[in-house]
Symmetry: C2
């Protein structure tokens, strides 16, 4: 199966060119942006399968604050589109913050082409293979029961279903 379009955002055009060269053979199209403002517009128009997002925009400020903001914006509108974070600094704090905000992966510059390619592919493959609804449901039910330490009444209440329904879902599993 073929891979679709990638959206890459970085304020350094050399990086964007390098990404195009590195990824051009594997993906249908590499759409690039040198500033993040149009990300959501593009994503509303084009079918984007994965996003590569640089974390440091405001020159000289390397907190990644802008990057996190845009990551959140992307995830809010397209929760199933994987976002791979790209940074110049191996900042653990930022990596953790990024992943906790829904990023699929985190890569530092300069990157290894094969590694980046593999990570993007993995993220897309994962986003494509969604679990059936019944599985997601069974999983969440189990978590609720665990969280209530086996108290089924509380678990049912937490899940917003009747106690009998919870019994059903437990058996069905």
């Amino acid at each position: 199966m073929k891979y679709g379009n990638i959206l890459a955002i970085d304020d350094n055009n050399a990086i964007l060119t390098a990404l195009k060269l590195c990824l051009g053979d594997t993906f249908q199209d590499i759409i690039t942006l040198s500033q993040p403002d149009d990300i959501l517009t593009i994503m509303a128009q084009e079918e984007i399968e994965a996003v590569i997002l640089d974390m440091n925009f405001s020159l000289g400020i390397n907190t990644g604050h802008d990057g996190i903001f845009w990551l959140q914006a992307i995830k809010k509108h397209h929760p199933n589109v994987p976002v791979i974070l790209l940074t110049a600094y191996a900042d653990v704090q930022l990596a953790v913050k990024g992943l906790k905000n829904g990023a699929a992966d985190f890569v530092t510059k300069p990157w290894d082409n094969d590694e980046l390619l593999r990570k993007i592919k993995d993220a897309i493959d994962k986003s494509r293979s969604l679990a059936p609804l019944s599985e997601v449901e069974a999983d969440h039910v189990q978590r609720a029961i665990d969280s209530c330490h086996g108290n089924l009444s509380k678990a049912a209440d937490m899940l917003g279903v009747s106690r009998q329904t919870l019994y059903n879902k437990m058996k069905t599993k």
Copy 2:
């Protein structure tokens, strides 16, 4: 509301003592292990609300391999119990690997007591407040529809429900 028991694993007893001092006032009990082998046994016996896991066991080997192994083991049996990773090295690779394997957070030694405390509390609060089943369902349905770029037939198939049911769930939302 009060917080329950914490399980902390580290092969350095000084670290375990420091954790007890740091966390003792906030949590009911700080159970400590100097080697990971008994983690699952303990967790089957005691009600553990969060785990603090050191990532470097085999002396001299700092790949975090063992840590990831135990993280996976914990998550497999207790997917809803948050695991906070603790390491001596600010290793981005390891942090990313840990979070992708379900860790709730990642902290480097030496840690800031207030920060660690806050991160544990946050992780527990999050694990306690499970979304109602209907919300999880609606969320997953939306992801499937996105993933199929609006093709409802394929989305329904992917979710393992009939097309009409998908229509229902879309309206209900």
